[in-house]
Chain length 217, copies 2
DNA sequence: AACATTATGTCAGCTGCTGACATTCGACAA
DNA sequence: TTGTCGAATGTCAGCAGCTGACATAATGTT
């Protein structure tokens, strides 16, 4: 349109925003280190803040509460999942689209340096910390609502009257969660292979139909 | 057998235990009143305690935290569900057993004086209070684990190797939760009828297969 | 250089929650 | 009835999470 800006204008990212991003990342990093080392409950917010040479008050300007800093990277992954899901071709049915999106997320995680093992440790920390587990499940619910909205849009449905999107989103979330649990519970069988995680999810989905069908004999 | 006790021996419930039960019930009652009136966040533990003329410290001897007193009645219902599920005839398949158990729970709730509307209000309170929602979801997960154990026992399976019990328990919990949401969201359609809730759950289960199958056109 | 904007620090304070110790209350026997 | 033991409760001190209010410093703009 009008307003011919000087072409190269990816983002007017000022020094300010860069600095903010840096301290934020530093806080997440320090928090994870301390949580994994001393445990979530035995790590105080003041410790995290002073590790980054920042006041406690600033910490709470970046994160609404102590849980949020622990789940920050997970929140980013969930956001990425939504992006991938929105970008899936319209020809796929809902289930195919979600499987594709979760595959893309794991591929992206795989590319990111050492985030594979880190993700595993994070899962264990969350599962073994009641407070974190509760917060994580709440986020998962919100994620399900958003996923349901996307699915309803793709299929041209009204989420208020047709509950199938919500239902499928919830079931999908459940399958992913149980896969994470199984993955973390049996490290020897799957570790060092992100494909293992995907295979687990696929297997669980294949078991879903028979499990619902009737007797298991 | 031996030891002919004097027949009428329901429970040697001393005055002590009765008093404990009374103050506990009073705390739950006062808490619910205050939560529904002023909101969860704006109600302090001291207020609840002083309402029952008890020190704050005693409150925390009855309940581990503020959330627990809000979810107490729900926890009892969940316990009842487990009991009913354990008592279901062995001939039923897992899904039939769970449907039967949830029906029995609602029938029992129906018999309890005015607990119907109270349950509705409680659901709304939980769903609209992030902290409570998180705590509730955590409890739901624990419930799922226990349900999976029961199902595995019924079918003679090892929950560690066969994940179908866990999967079905999770899906069932999801369906019940979504039914609660739909029930609370559209009061006019279902209110004053516990059968409405059961019908909703049945309908959602019937939608589950088609929703998983493929396209929704 | 002067100004507006925004991030940060400091401080005071509330609320949830816990340990330690004293006190009171119910159970049970002499 | 009385006395004794254990359990329930009260009191107090204190820590940690979290917030509002205000002052200060850093950054961006003219």
């Amino acid at each position: 349109m009008a307003m011919p800006t000087t072409a190269a204008d990816p983002q007017p990212v000022g020094l300010r925003e860069r600095k903010k991003r840096r301290t934020r990342d530093a806080l997440v990093d320090a928090a994870h280190r301390l949580f994994l080392c001393h445990g979530y409950g035995r790590t105080t917010v003041d410790e995290i803040a002073s590790e980054v040479e920042v006041s406690q008050r600033t910490f709470f300007r970046y994160f609404a509460n102590k849980e949020e800093v622990a789940l920050a990277v997970l929140a980013e992954a969930e956001e990425a999942f939504l992006e991938f899901l929105r970008a899936r071709p319209a020809g796929e049915n809902p289930l195919e689209a979600m499987r594709g999106a979760v595959r893309e997320v794991w591929q992206a995680v795989d590319r990111g340096q050492d985030s594979g093992p880190a993700a595993l440790e994070l899962f264990e920390l969350i599962e073994s910390t009641p407070t974190l587990l509760a917060a994580h499940l709440r986020h998962a619910i919100q994620q399900e609502v958003e996923v349901a909205r996307i699915l309803a849009d793709r299929e041209g449905l009204d989420p208020a009257v047709d509950l199938r999107p919500r239902l499928l989103a919830a079931v999908f979330g459940t399958v992913v969660r149980i896969s994470h649990l199984a993955y973390a519970a049996d490290p020897d069988a799957h570790r060092h292979s992100m494909d293992g995680m995907l295979a687990l999810i696929e297997r669980h989905f294949d078991q879903l139909g028979p499990a619902l069908a009737g007797s298991w004999r």
